[in-house]
């Protein structure tokens, strides 16, 4: 879902940067407030793992592939969508500048879609469902929905940019990312959260494991 430079005109690309910047700022503020010697290694390991897994495209049929985004996973582990914004911003910076994956002018849009939208939708869906559905199912649905909604947002941005027609763009982006999100986002997120909960429940933010701490 990495939008290249040519897909969004410069004037619009700047607007997405203007939307992204306050979230980047808040994610840095989150890091100052929340990170300590215990959490920094977890953040670094997750960021490295997410960069690597984004290079591993999974075939979904129809001549199409897709990969995990990971913002929901990071947000759930740290108990804040800002953690997802921070990690995805770092990953997208390296992908854009070093590997030409996603544009530089469009990085703001990519941060909004993959960092902000998929992280916020993923995290708050998880938080709303976890007491009723359990951690595993809530992580699956949250991550899946987060990716799907970010793909819909991307399709709308492509329409506003004049790059995609509205309806065909929504159908294609929605369909592909429903499938990508099921395997690439939902399943992997649920598996990792379950594994961490079993092996090291102390690593998960207390809002994940305790029944009372659903607050943002």
């Amino acid at each position: 879902m990495h939008i290249p430079d040519s897909f969004i005109p410069m004037g619009q690309a700047i607007i997405y940067w203007v939307i992204a910047l306050p979230f980047i700022f808040l994610s840095l503020k989150w890091a100052r407030k929340e990170l300590d010697d215990m959490k920094v290694p977890i953040l670094a390991a997750l960021a490295a793992g997410i960069f690597a897994i984004q290079a591993l495209n999974i075939p979904i049929g129809m001549g199409t592939s897709g990969h995990m985004v990971g913002a929901a996973l990071v947000a759930i582990i740290f108990g804040s969508p800002m953690a997802g914004v921070l990690v995805l911003t770092l990953v997208l910076l390296v992908q854009g500048f070093v590997f030409g994956d996603g544009g530089i002018t469009t990085m703001g849009a990519n941060i909004v879609n993959m960092g902000v939208i998929s992280g916020f939708v993923g995290y708050y869906t998880f938080a709303a469902l976890k007491n009723k559905a359990g951690i595993k199912a809530a992580a699956f649905v949250g991550a899946w929905l987060g990716l799907f909604v970010s793909a819909i947002a991307c399709a709308i941005e492509m329409y506003v940019a004049g790059t995609f027609p509205l309806e065909a763009g929504l159908v294609a982006m929605g369909l592909y990312h429903l499938i990508i999100g099921f395997v690439g986002e939902g399943l992997i997120t649920a598996i990792v959260i379950t594994a961490i909960e079993k092996a090291r429940p102390d690593l998960l933010d207390s809002s994940v494991t305790s029944a009372t701490g659903v607050e943002a």
Partner: protein, 103 residues
């Protein structure tokens, strides 16, 4: 977050994370699907060919040193090196930023 777990234990989590990330980095060039991703595939299906090929061939805003996770002329080895380098770079930046940000 429990306060009873030693810092050493989280460093173990970091090493395990690095090991998994590097394993994926080395395998990705062989396992990753070469098919276009969701956005590229959508573009290929619904945009007219001329506009798309014009957009795809237009120069990026900034030239990147290792476009498409590859090193020119180095084949699969170059792809492995590129992804491993990216993984280590993200690791270093996030660890460094984390250390700077924390009190």
């Amino acid at each position: 977050m429990s306060v009873n777990v030693s810092k050493g234990t989280n460093m173990k989590f970091l090493y395990a994370g690095i090991a998994i990330a590097l394993l994926i980095s080395v395998l990705a060039p062989f396992l990753a699907s070469p098919d276009p991703d969701g956005l590229e595939s959508a573009a290929g299906n619904i945009m007219d060919e001329a506009t798309l090929s014009e957009m795809e061939t237009s120069a990026p805003f900034v030239e990147s040193p290792m476009p498409d996770y590859a090193i020119e002329g180095q084949g699969k080895t170059g792809e492995i090196l590129a992804i491993v380098a990216g993984t280590l770079l993200v690791l270093g930046i996030s660890f460094g930023l984390g250390k700077l940000a924390k009190k």
